[in-house]
Structures are given as structure tokens and as C-alpha cells.
């Protein structure tokens, strides 16, 4: 650590405080305006200070629980199935690769690693998922494409297995008659909780925040939208309305400003809470990412 003068330290603190504010104020604006009356917002715009406190946005959310609650539930279901499957696939692929004596290990590693170097991009992927394996307008369309497993997680997991689980322990278990499945479930997994938490958290963020699969693969079944696609839809309708002021569209179904802020708040909240509890795993995941496979 550097030894610093008083003036230098003052500027360092100032910079960090400004950046902390830059990260906090946008949330503050979402939060405060979700508790502000719509009248005030329409007349004065988004405000930095709490003005004309009102719970009407949250009342609206409660009354619209059929649509918003549904999207929220979909997000939970999609993230639940997705994260679980992702972890199972990642562990099952990483464990054999952690055996240095596995015949063909080099070729399998290359098969995995090559997917990080080269990819087909959106058009062929879209055509594969709509023409060869059809996931269009189904729950699978939200879960399977892109997110179910990736080489990066597998490599991190494999590296953890090889460097943190002593091979003597596995040898001993095998001499006692344990098979590979028992070795994996009874020895390796209990010793790998930190890495499972890290990868689970990263997969959770990816699933919870995903909205691209929704716009690629759900065209008619908008009832399968998660909360992110719901928010996206609301914003599209609102901007469409703003640019077509004169057309006769029912404005009834489009939530107003404070309601939009309230939906955004409840969409962010679960991830923020999970993050605050598990943030050390998350930071670990970032620094692990810089370690090569």
C-alpha cells in the first residue's frame, strides 16, 4: 500500500465518494420516484428529493398482480430451473476433466475451449433453435439457448476441483470401494461449496437479467415473459404512445411513471439482496475469471 500525503489522500477520498454517489443516485431516483405521486411527476419531472409521498404505484402493482405477479413468478421459475440445470451440467462436465489420467482429456478440453474462441453468432443460432430444435414460444426458449452451460464456468470449476481436492482423498475412497458417482457426490461436492456458490450466483445473474431470449424466441407466447421482458414491453408501449400522441390507443393498460419505477425497483431488489449476502463469492468469481484455464 502506498504512503500518501494529506492532500493526495483528500483527492483520493473525493474521487471514491463521487463514484459511490454515481452508483447510488440512479437507484435513489428509481426508489424515490416510485413513492412520489403521479401528479407531481407529470408536472415537475423526475426528482432527486422525496416530494408528495404516495403509495399509489405500489397499490397499482398489487392490483395488477395477475400480470406483474405472473411475470415475476416466471422469472423465478426460469431462474430456478436454469441455475439448477446449469450447475448440474457444469459439474458433470468439469468432474471427468479434472481426472488427469482420463484418456482423450486433451481432445475433450479442446472441444470445450474452442467454443470460447469461435461462435456462429445470432443468425445460425436463431435458425438452429427455431428450425432444428424448436424452442420457439415455449418455456425452453427462455432457458435453453445461450445460458444453460458455458465453457468459462466449466473451466473455473475444473480448475477448482484439480487444485483444491487432494487426489489422495479420492484414491483412498476408491480403494474403499466408492465408485465415481459416490466420489463426486460424497467427497468432491461437499468440498466445493464456495465454487458452486460462485458459479450459481453468476448463473443466477445471467438468468434473472436475461431478456434477449424473450425477444428472440417468444413472439406469441408473451404470457411466458419474465419480469425483464415485461419491463421492456411496458417501456416500448410508453415510448410508442409518446411518439403517437394523437392515435387512439387505450392508455389504460400502460403503467404511468411512478408505477414503472416501482416495477423496476421490485425487479432489482431480489438480485441486490442476494448480492449483498453473497458478495464475497461474487468478487471471487471476478478475480477467478482472470485466471486462465
Amino acid at each position: 500500500m502506498l504512503k500518501t500525503s494529506k492532500i493526495f489522500n483528500f483527492f483520493v477520498t473525493l474521487l471514491l465518494v463521487l463514484l459511490v454517489l454515481a452508483c447510488v443516485i440512479p437507484f435513489w431516483i428509481l426508489f424515490i420516484n416510485s413513492f412520489t405521486s403521479e401528479n407531481y411527476l407529470v408536472q415537475n419531472g423526475y426528482s432527486l428529493l422525496p416530494k408528495e409521498f404516495s403509495l399509489s404505484a405500489y397499490k397499482y402493482l398489487w392490483e395488477a398482480k395477475d400480470s406483474i405477479g405472473r411475470a415475476y413468478m416466471m422469472s423465478i421459475i426460469i431462474a430456478g430451473i436454469g441455475v439448477t440445470t446449469n450447475l448440474v451440467l457444469t459439474i458433470l462436465f468439469a468432474y471427468p476433466l479434472s481426472h488427469k489420467d482420463l484418456p482423450g482429456r486433451g481432445a475433450i478440453s479442446f472441444f470445450l475451449f474452442f467454443t470460447m474462441l469461435f461462435n456462429g453468432g445470432l443468425v445460425p443460432t436463431y435458425l438452429v433453435y427455431t428450425n432444428i430444435i424448436n424452442v420457439k414460444d415455449s418455456l425452453a426458449g427462455m432457458i435453453v439457448p445461450y445460458l444453460l452451460m458455458n465453457a468459462f464456468f466449466v473451466i473455473i470449476m475444473r480448475t477448482y476441483f484439480t487444485s483444491n481436492i487432494p487426489s489422495e482423498v479420492l484414491e483412498a475412497a476408491k480403494i474403499d470401494g466408492a465408485n465415481e458417482v459416490q466420489c463426486l457426490t460424497r467427497i468432491v461436492l461437499p468440498m466445493s461449496k464456495p465454487i458452486i456458490a460462485t458459479i450459481g450466483l453468476m448463473a443466477l445473474i445471467a438468468y434473472w437479467n436475461n431478456w434477449t431470449n424473450g425477444i428472440y424466441f417468444l413472439t406469441t407466447r408473451t404470457d411466458l415473459y419474465g419480469i425483464q421482458n415485461y419491463l421492456n414491453d411496458v417501456m416500448n408501449k410508453a415510448t410508442f404512445l409518446q411518439s403517437h400522441m394523437n392515435t387512439m390507443i387505450s392508455t389504460q393498460n400502460i403503467p404511468n411513471i411512478s408505477v414503472r419505477m416501482a416495477i423496476a425497483v421490485i425487479a432489482v431488489l431480489p438480485l441486490l439482496i442476494v448480492y449483498l449476502f453473497f458478495q464475497k463469492y461474487f468478487v471471487k468469481g471476478i478475480t477467478l475469471g482472470s485466471v486462465k484455464g
Binding site: I29, Y46, L92, F111, G120, P124, I215, S290, K292
Partner: protein, 304 residues
Amino acid sequence: MRRRKFLRYLPLYLMLIPGAAYLIINNYLPMAGLVIAFKKVNFSLGIFQSPWCGLSNFKYLFSNDDALIAIRNTILYNLGFIVFGNLLAIIVAIALDCARSKFFKNVSQVIFLVPFLLSTVIVSYIVFAFLSPTNGFINNSILPLFGIENGIKWYNEAKYWPVILTVVYLWMSFGYSSILYYSTIIGIDKSYYEAAGVDGASTWQQIIHVTIPSLKPTIITLVLLGVGRICYSDFGLFYQIPQHSGLLYSTTQTIDTFVYRALLELNDVGRSSAAGFLQSLIGFVLVLGANWLVSKLDKESALF
């Protein structure tokens, strides 16, 4: 003997099957599907049975300026992101290292990562709260302080967006990359600083002669990784944040939004597959090239 060996490893091979099947569907089939850039797609025949059409999709792609604008934007944004992103991340990492209070250090790290957790949909809500022409925080509360009463129609004026998108990108990503740099700084041997201090080096001199040289491998790796991805862009950043406003395409269209719009909004498989093919191919060459350069400069930080 061979048979016994095979039986011993059989459970391990079986474990690989689900993941391998997924990689084939999700990654390898699309790679093979890149050939559609050279085909005239006929969905009734299927992707692989459609007739070949040579380079006509590519000729069509460059028949007007749209694709060139998207390519230009992608490269220029990425260059800006690489320069400003790394610069900011290094400054923040050094500042975190210099901060005296341990509590403040930890709290700021936790908070810096929060923007990274948000989906681009939520970020587009936040940006809209600032820039909305009628209700936005900037038009209503900031600009009047400078005597601009009528506000600016942000979503109609392309010229502001290079700055807006760069700021949004930096806001979302600086926490992540500064932690990468910070974890390198923590690892610097303290005796270097002590020795420099004994020799009478000022804080600035210590930063320039001790901290920055120690960060060199990380800087090289991150810059070259960025160069390797110079044809790619965060789809959400360029699609959601500008509210897909058509008036802004000249400065917000990138290869990824171009491909998406051509494929799903215009149903133009030919142009989008040609653009996607170029992106995948150049991306591949650049990743290999960047890694080759890293391994020349610093063998330890090469990716493979």
C-alpha cells in the same frame, strides 16, 4: 485389458454426455450454420439443403452504407471503451489502494459492483429517468440551472449518443474491471514501496515507477482481450439504452443490433447472415492474433 480400462472410465464418459450434447446444439451446430451466409435460404428446404448463391449476400450487404456505418460504430465504440475503460479502472484501483479507511474501502468496492448487476432493461429505465424529454431529470432540474429552459430532445439527436453510451458503459463496467486491477495491486510486494520511500520517491513517483509497471501484464491482457472482441458489442447497451430510436441509428447501430434488426425486424436472412459471418470470422482471427501477441509480450498472461 483395454476393455477393463474402458469400463473403469465409462462412468466418467457418461457424465460428459449431457454437456457435450448441449455444446453441439448451442455452439457447434451454429458454427456449421455459418454456411448460410453463402446460401439463398429457403425454409421449406431447410438450412443445409438451400441452394448456394456465392457472394451475392455480401454484395447485397454492402449495397448501401448501413452495414459500413454499423461496422464503423462497433470499432470506434470499442476503441473508446478500451481506452477510457482501462484508464478509469486503473485510476479507481489505485485510489482504492490508497484509501486509508478499511471500512470505506470495502463499502466502495461493494457499491461499485452494483451497476454491473443490472440488466440493460433496468439501465434503460434509469437512463430514461435522466434523459426523458418531458419528465427527465436533466431537462427539468439540471439544464435550467445553466439557463437552458426548453430542454434537449436527447432521443432525437444522434450527436449526443457517443458520449451518453460511453458514460453508461463506464458506469456499468468500471467496478468489475477496477476489481481486476485492484486484485493485482494487492499482490504487489510491499517492500518495493518501502524501498522507493527510503529513496525519497514521492507518491506520484511510486505510482509511476512501482504500481503501473506491476499492472503491466493485467493491462496488456485486458487491452488485447478488448481488441479480440472489437467486432462485438453489448447488444442491450446499443439496443435498449437508446430506446431503439431510428433517429439515432447513425451513432448507435452496431453489428449486433444491425444483425438483429435485419433478421427479426426485416426478415432479411441474407444480409444478416453475411454480416454475422464477417463478425464471427474476423472475431476469431482477432482473438487468435491477440493471444499470439500476448504470448509474445508476456508468456504468463497468454490465454492459451
